[in-house]
Symmetry: D2
Subunit: 393 residues, 4 copies
């Protein structure tokens, strides 16, 4: 075993950290509280800076326009970027576009790559991923209701999706739909590309989530497909491969997410430390002199550190041994890191007193929106069952 990080990577992480500290954190609240489309030009300018530094799109290879990092390197970058809500977007590796890019890269046809992947990698367009449905429990794929039926050379799609993140302003949606209801559980669905200017694609609303309707990239929509017709060739991979492709997306996506959450943890811990050091409670005593605060700092720090090396180990295993060997860890880190994050953010918020409740600082945003981490991509309870059943075998 060897826990060393190579010097070039350390330097690059430091460079990114500086960029985050100097360029992103100072404006993040303003960006989050603005209409996305109004501030998009400012974000675009920042993206240009990132491109100029050669740090653009670390999740994809240079051959298609990224800066090509390994999964573990990407994880470490994701941790740094995760410290601010605008980090991944500015570096061109934001969900769901990053996952959609990977999907198209691996399984798309040349035409699909040309038409959708290239501008997506380049940041010229955005995309969304239509999976979750309001009426059916996401944890059970057999319940999926949205469907696509082949009619001549076209798929006719019907169904309703929600939590379709970033649909507002996206140029296309990858829709997970049932294509063969009689097939076995994991072979009944497919992924199909739906351009959002298709007349059968209805944008219903941005769902108000934890007080924010959001807009543009920072939103989560409800959309509907009403006799939505797209060419047969818009399918990704083969018919019935939907869940298999979703699995492919899973491993790397999980690492990104978990490392992003750890970035949030690190930021929260740092905020807790710096605020409590300066907030005086008597003329010569600061909040950080209280043992209760010290306990929170110490408990948070070790939870973060332990979770972090576990995620890195998982990334290493996926890359060096294979996804199968890492499968149980991939589930474990999901619920574990999400819960670590909730505890850390909660302590950081409490340490700020009333200020922690306000949108004057970032913690309330983390507290509200990152609560979803215990729910999306499978709630804690589902992953725990999966892990336990594997261990019980």
């Amino acid at each position: 075993m060897n826990f060393e990080i190579e010097d070039w990577l350390k330097n690059q992480l430091e460079e990114i950290q500086n960029f985050v500290d100097e360029e992103l954190i100072p404006i993040e609240l303003e960006i989050l509280h603005s209409d996305f489309f109004e501030v998009e030009p400012r974000l675009k300018a920042l993206r240009e800076k990132v491109k100029a530094k050669g740090l653009w799109a670390p999740h994809v290879s240079a051959s298609i326009g990224g800066c090509g990092k390994s999964l573990m390197q990407l994880g470490l970058i994701s941790e740094v970027l995760g410290q601010t809500m605008i980090g991944h977007y500015v570096f061109g590796c934001q969900a769901p576009d990053a996952g959609n890019t990977e999907l198209l890269h691996k399984f798309g046809t040349d035409e699909q790559k040309e038409q959708w992947m290239k501008p997506l990698v380049n940041g010229d367009i955005r995309s969304c991923f239509g999976m979750t449905e309001p009426a059916t429990a996401g944890s059970n794929p057999t319940l999926l209701e949205a469907s696509a039926v082949l009619d001549g050379d076209e798929w006719v799609i019907n169904g309703r999706k929600w939590f379709t993140s970033s649909a507002d302003g996206a140029q296309f949606c990858i829709a997970m739909v049932v294509t063969d209801p009689d097939e076995s559980k994991h072979k009944k669905a497919s992924m199909i590309i739906v351009p959002t200017d298709n007349p059968g694609y209805k944008f219903i609303r941005n769902i108000s989530i934890m007080g924010d309707v959001g807009s543009g990239y920072f939103s989560h929509a409800e959309v509907e497909f009403v006799n939505c017709r797209v060419p047969k060739s818009n399918i990704i991979g083969t018919v019935g491969s939907g869940f298999a492709l979703a699995q492919e997306r899973l491993g790397p996506g999980r690492i990104h997410h978990c490392m992003r959450w750890l970035g949030i943890c690190r930021r929260s811990l740092n905020e807790m430390i710096s605020y409590t050091k300066t907030r005086m409670i008597t003329s010569n005593k600061s909040l950080s002199d209280l043992q209760a605060i010290q306990n929170w700092i110490a408990e948070s720090a070790v939870e973060i550190e332990a979770a972090r090396v576990l995620v890195l180990q998982t990334a290493w295993t996926i890359e060096n041994v294979g996804f199968e060997a890492a499968r149980n860890h991939v589930s474990m880190i999901k619920y574990h890191v999400a819960n670590v994050m909730q505890r850390v953010v909660d302590k950081a918020l409490q340490s700020h007193g009333g200020l922690g409740m306000t949108d004057d600082i970032i913690l309330a945003h983390f507290y509200r929106h990152e609560r979803a981490a215990r729910i999306y991509d499978g709630p804690d309870e589902v992953h725990k069952m999966v892990v336990a059943r594997n261990l019980l075998k």
Copy 2:
């Protein structure tokens, strides 16, 4: 001991519960998501219905316009009303007006009662209470900075307050200010009535809290006093009595708060039960068939029940033995019930999956805004110290 609730009270609680279920819960989200001043007329109409039923202002005696309930009865009513964010407002016993009324009733001059208390009880005007300051730790009263200096027949007030709840649209503010900086810790401050149309009173902003700027009654402002001059007679009680009066407000206020939180708990538990019973995860199995969900229900239920009788016991002790005898319980219930609420709301939210994150239902609102319960009126940590030190004596 006797845990019986008299029949007339049971009936009245049932009547209030029906009103809450039929008139308030169906519109609460719409109200919360609207501008307060736009929906104020609808709320006024509901208030008229409450008055017609003889249930108006249960916290004050009939002699001044209320329906005069005992502290424990009021607690039980508060629990029912607490199930919806608009309950207390519609019944005329909302914070901070209820506390301000009690203060003026006990310590106000006849003129103050006539001018401020009467219309307040009647719901014709609203008020706010300026205590917390952005620059100083609220848990340490010796740090209070806002001050009032007597200049002839006028107090000249300077200072900045925040978390001045419901200041937006309030007709007056009761300001806690230092009147004698050289006095001992608990005798240095006074409470002074400041009409909000006073030119020295500056409304700065409604603070955005957990994603909501809010408006009107549902807001928390930052305000400033800049050489703000009010008549000498605007003081409540005697000079230096500020903290003593705050203490007076404390016991009953704590009971209201805790019972309101328990109302939120009950509502959350009910939402968890009803949703998980109907949300199917397979063709014949609902979420509520999962042991994990059952555990949450069982753990929540007993935490609520235990906390509830403890708060009622505290109310009983204040009324029948006196505040001194109840003092430690008054601190205990603060942190205990606030934490019970956080755990219950969190479980209820999680049981709703993605829906729980949305503003389509009430839980996200509870999750966001009631997080403050562990902070305002003294954070957990301060109350725990107080309780422990008493027990260590």
Copy 3:
């Protein structure tokens, strides 16, 4: 509602508290570390003092030799006695004898009362209750394997039991055995009295539990019935009434247990307070000056207080409204109080540092043996399911 305790009861509780403090706590460790039969005479002498004070056997009416307390009064007494492991025994209301007495009192024949109940109430003999089986999950009564078959005028009993508390030295065992395997789940078993000098009754061993084999009253045995023949008339109640009788025992038994656990909580909290006040960590600072310790005290205190009023409310409901109305509370308090106790004892132990690990003080005993509270009489998980299912109805 009324939370007052009558003066006579307060006085009696104080009298019992004094007895516990002066006569029992000073010798409890010596008793626990001795062979029971060696110290039995000393305990007998203490029992005589209790009888002389008129405080003997509070769980049964004066007509059969007790001092006849109501369920709630008994609960309050149980709380005081629970502070020491020898409290209930010295006052003649120890499990399992107390429950067996109640059973015989309600359902025994005159002969059974004469032969077994009378000397039991008087403390002349001891008894045990054979329910749990090593090979079958106690939480599922349909799995019960021990059986009794009628052969002429005799029951022929076969089967193995363990956790048969206090079997060592008991004169009789009430055995729960299947008498009609074909009957429905809750009607298949009966309770039969088995004198322990019966040749078919085999005492196998005192089970070593958490490091203690124990002896006499303070032990938990494994016993076997091998073609054990007892007269037909040894059955309690009717054939098939076993589970119904067990239910009868349940409500009051639960109150005793929970209040005893709360006595343990109170004792632990008191030990934590008194030790940390005197243990110096610097020349002028004691352990109790640490905020971490203060947090534990404050968290423990409120958990204890809340649980306590909930148990008392449950006792009141059983007595004044009936067992059915209290059924869910009877389950709730089981897992709730057992967990409160575990948390309180754990904190108290930790606050004592290394000393807490030793048998020089009582806390390690609580820590070890009261861990069972979350298991016996139905583990947490079973009660939580029961409570949740009732609430889901």
Copy 4:
């Protein structure tokens, strides 16, 4: 970074695991429940087997009789051995002898090595370490009371120690005593070798801990030095170097302990898995089919995995970067792993129902004795303060 374990090490760990499974686990309870001196010959025979396999004393180099493993390799071995209470003893790397050996190896004189270290490494004698005192808080070294005064060529030692593990049967004790009370805090104490047959060395008692008095290696003694005279040359290192030497022992010792605890975690998790799979609760459903049990398995597994890589990272840092760089991690892992262990053991015990309370299986032993992990070598609270203060710098 690289998480690979070399093949030779994997094979060796597997060999050790097999030995643990086949030779140690089957007899561990019998050994623990016997008088140590009676079973010592059996343990000696097992030690010979280990020596024959070339696996003896992995903590020290081959040059002095061990099999010379690196700190991280040793950690992985310690994890395997930790699964049974007799593992480290049988492999000759048991505390406190392992630490004492390392101390003498690094700082002992040639005579000390010859006389004490050699037979210690070889397992011919045992030793103990006298640090903790009953009257003073161990967390504050300035309070240390035991002292040694130079009188001619002899140290005259006076003082009382407890939790002197394995003193019963030890041939020598390394005593931490104040040699210069006027020196600064960390320079006032020294370590001195005291042969236990010295007339001034009084073995007072084996302290009964969590129900076990223990004997021989498996015991914790209280000892006293009464004008105990030893040659001046018995000092280890220089006068006043006591705390510095203790620090030296710290890093590696912490890794051993934490990995041993993780071995206990792993064993407990395995016991939970294997028992719940086979314990039927209905005719076709086992305990492991319950979601509550699955949750415990899943929560335990990830806590163990995360803690494990964190400890290994710490070991790597100590070896490859140096103790200073790892200092905060060395504190962090102490409280973190100890608490993970307590949670895992508690869940494993609960999953066994009544059986978990008995000494028929190992879990009750873990539950009782490993509770000390949160106390010895500095309680949680002290380490948390240390970690927080470092992070606050």
